[in-house]
């Protein structure tokens, strides 16, 4: 099974992606499986944290969306405790014109703009609606506790 040129090209272009706070590198020798790192957006409770995700390109990518999941524990109304993400473009609003890069940027944007009215993690969404400040404090707490620090990431690089 040969790998579509598009995947090779996307991988190549992602490698040159430097300053957007997203990083995707091929995991092992499976060229469809990526280790992803997303920096929490500034001004959000996730700021300063580096979140790890896994991304898999199914056989019929780009005609069907990549499968993405948070590996780092995160307190967010649209991300459940298994790390699954409620994001329309990962489901029925997928378009083959989207790419790994745009998907990751969308996920980053979701961190900056949680949507508790369309929840995946019910308890979190409930908290978010009842007492947003408390919920954000928890999110900050979790970020500190579970996410890698941006400074650590810089040291690695």
């Amino acid at each position: 099974m040969s790998l579509p040129k598009r995947i090779l090209k996307e991988t190549e272009r992602l490698r040159n992606e430097k300053d957007t706070g997203i990083k995707a590198t091929i995991h092992g020798d499976n060229l469809r499986y990526f280790d992803v790192e997303i920096n929490g957006p500034e001004g959000s409770p996730y700021e300063g944290g580096v979140f790890e995700l896994e991304l898999f390109l199914p056989e019929d990518y780009p005609m069907s969306p990549p499968k993405v999941r948070f590996l780092t524990k995160i307190y967010h109304p649209n991300i459940d405790r298994l790390g699954r993400i409620c994001l329309d473009i990962l489901k029925n609003n997928w378009s083959p014109a989207l790419q790994i890069r745009t998907v990751l940027l969308s996920i980053q944007a979701l961190l900056g703009a949680p949507n508790p009215d369309d929840p995946l993690a019910n308890d979190v969404a409930q908290k978010w609606k009842e007492d947003e400040n408390a919920a954000k404090a928890t999110a900050r707490q979790w970020t500190k506790e579970y996410a890698k620090k941006v400074s650590d990431q810089k040291e690695e690089a």
């Binding site: 040129k5 005609m63 409620c86 329309d88 489901k91 083959p96 014109a97 369309d118 019910n122």
Partner: protein, 607 residues
């Protein structure tokens, strides 16, 4: 939601439903079990005791047989598909070898590897009509400053063994493959790019004499080709497209050759190549444009885009990924499930770029014509074949308005998959069938749940009256009066999960009535069991239209019955432990097991 998803799954696949519950369903397929007393005894033995065990041999063999039949059917189907695939592959090779449209191809070039579900004939026709871009070979790389030779070499490298020119020459032009497009000095150009038209055609003229004769014959019928060969007469090119004219479909014609204004068609085409934004390959600047937002999209990607499979309207998220019970449509009731079949929809594909619905594209062909054309188009090309060299750069004129999806020049995704409506109808029919089976299951489950604590028998509404009728003649129960069918002393009275029911007869009666009412029958308490049974069977017939449904339902019902038996036995054993076992219990167990069997016979025969 998890709950209802699980349930949905269990009847979404009838095959698995029957096979999956193997032990119970197989053993319980009563209509294949001889009804003689002894075998029936053995059979009910299997039900009563064989919880989770192998079903009785006879039923098992039949079950196995059915399974094998299905397997054989599937194997035959797979074989048929395999042959079709081989046929398709042959056709593809022939087309690659012999056919082209303006330097592009009429078959996909392998960018996508999944099954092709568009209508090949329609796509082919649209391409010959120049309404859809042909399948040009996509290039992985492209530089604006590549020379003609480098461009040609790049296309050839992508085509590999599929290169029609190479095939014609029986692979004698090996040296062309050595070219690396990026490493070009004039010297290397000369040595390693033999495709550069003159040297190549010179060296291979003798090899291809037959094909050129062939094409001369073709061109003599073809004013366009004659004109072209005249203009190129001082450079004796090999017209490498040689389609025997008799293979052409009526109305089609061929303009042979690979030259446009003395340059190789690929050099002309790929000079200002564009990257398709979906497959990231480089194509000639004659790509399809979306009708809505004027974006380029290659044909290879276009034919991949289609309607989503039939689905229920607008769930903002898929149930399978939702762990949120609140987002589930209020607990799928029986009626809800039934209604869903009609609700199934399938929207036209939307534009991948701007999300406009009714995705469609237009195509502006290059100013020259090569390869297959419609006979009616044949007279126009000569003028353009020798047209001004500037022409390749002109097609990029941007359209400033968007076209409606029903504009005549627009090709939509539905046009190349005209079977979408049929698929939708099929999906609806299937959903309706599933819903019918689901209704039965829900009915049974409802009855069992609502009466499990008070009643010993999980009658499934649908067959309750026939069971009652049969019960009359069942020696084990000793029940003889149709009006009081459950007065039999043998009916276990303590089958409830927790407490023994003080008035089992009455609850049984209520249950039967409830079952019939659930089917929309108002059964007067005074009516005889016989007429009730007829009514019920009519309802059964009306509702269950084919045998398959019956069998699925029967399997479901029997597994429910068996579950109830198990509970009963547990309770009995519990009672025995308590030291209060009685002979009545034993008879009761036997009686209801026999009922399960005989009622199954009734259902089976009515199908």
């Amino acid at each position: 939601m998890g709950n209802s998803v699980g349930r949905e799954r269990s009847y979404s696949n009838p095959g698995n439903g029957v096979g999956g519950s193997g032990g119970s369903a197989g053993a319980g397929r009563p209509f294949v079990v001889p009804a003689s007393g002894s075998s029936r005894h053995r059979h009910h033995h299997g039900i009563v005791i064989g919880d989770g065990e192998r079903p009785s041999g006879n039923a098992f063999t039949r079950h196995e047989q059915r399974y094998r039949d299905r397997e054989a059917r599937e194997a035959a189907k797979a074989e048929k598909e395999r042959l079709a695939a081989i046929e398709r592959e042959k056709e593809r090779e022939r087309s690659m070898r012999e056919e082209n449209v303006d330097g592009g191809f009429l078959v996909t070039q392998g960018v996508y590897t999944g099954a092709e579900d568009f209508k090949h004939k329609i796509v082919r026709q649209l391409m010959i009509e120049r309404r859809l871009a042909p399948f040009f070979k996509g290039l992985s790389d492209h530089e604006d400053d590549w020379t003609d030779e480098e461009l040609i070499a790049a296309v050839k490298a992508e085509l590999g063994e599929n290169d029609p020119e190479e095939n014609e020459k029986k692979g004698k032009g090996k040296e062309s493959t050595a070219t690396s497009p990026s490493s070009s000095t004039p010297n290397i150009d000369h040595l390693t790019v033999p495709i550069a038209s003159r040297s190549r055609s010179h060296s291979y003229t003798s090899d291809t004499s037959s094909t050129s004769a062939n094409s001369h014959r073709a061109s003599s019928n073809n004013p366009a080709a004659r004109l072209r060969s005249k203009t190129l007469s001082n450079s004796p090119k090999v017209s490498s497209i040689a389609i025997p004219t008799q293979q052409l479909a009526p109305g089609e014609a061929v303009i042979p050759g690979r030259q446009v204004d003395g340059r190789h068609v690929w050099a002309v085409l790929y000079k200002d190549a564009l990257e398709c934004p979906i497959c990231f390959l480089y194509y000639p600047p004659y790509l399809n444009k979306t009708r809505c937002c004027d974006q380029e999209i290659c044909s290879e990607c276009f034919v991949q885009i289609k309607r989503a499979d039939p689905h229920l309207p607008d769930h903002h998220q898929e149930p399978s990924t939702s762990s949120n019970p609140a987002s589930a449509p209020a607990a799928q009731s029986t009626t809800g499930t039934t209604g869903n079949a009609e609700l199934l929809t399938s929207e036209p594909a939307s534009c991948p770029f701007c999300k406009e619905t009714d995705f469609g594209v237009t195509y502006t062909p290059p100013p020259f014509r090569l390869g297959l054309v419609l006979q009616s188009q044949q007279n126009s090309p000569p003028a353009t074949t020798s047209s001004s060299p500037a022409s390749p750069s002109t097609p990029n004129v941007r359209r400033h308005h968007h076209l409606p999806h029903n504009a005549p020049q627009v090709v939509t995704t539905d046009q190349i998959r005209p079977d979408w409506s049929q698929k939708l109808a099929h999906a609806r029919a299937q959903a309706a069938r599933r819903a019918a089976a689901a209704t039965a299951l829900h009915t049974a489950a409802f009855l069992m749940n609502s009466t499990a604590s008070s009643s010993s028998n999980p009658l499934t509404g649908l067959t309750s009256s026939s069971r009652r009728m049969l019960r009359r003649v069942d020696p084990a129960t000793g029940a003889s009066s149709p009006s009081a069918p459950n007065s039999g002393s043998g009916t276990p009275q303590n089958g409830g999960r927790s407490s023994p029911n003080p008035r089992p007869g009455q609850s049984q009666e209520l249950l039967s009535t409830a079952g019939l009412q659930l089917l929309g029958i108002n059964q007067p308490r005074s009516s005889s069991a016989g007429s009730g049974s007829n009514q019920a069977q009519q309802v059964v017939r009306a509702r269950m239209e084919d045998l398959e449904e019956m069998m699925i339902m029967e399997a479901i019902r029997l597994s429910l019955a068996e579950e109830e038996e198990r509970k009963k036995r547990e309770a009995k054993e519990q009672q025995k432990k308590d030291g209060s076992g009685s002979s009545g219990d034993g008879a009761g167990g036997e009686g209801s097991a026999a009922n399960a069997t005989s009622s199954g016979e009734t259902v089976g025969s009515s199908g």
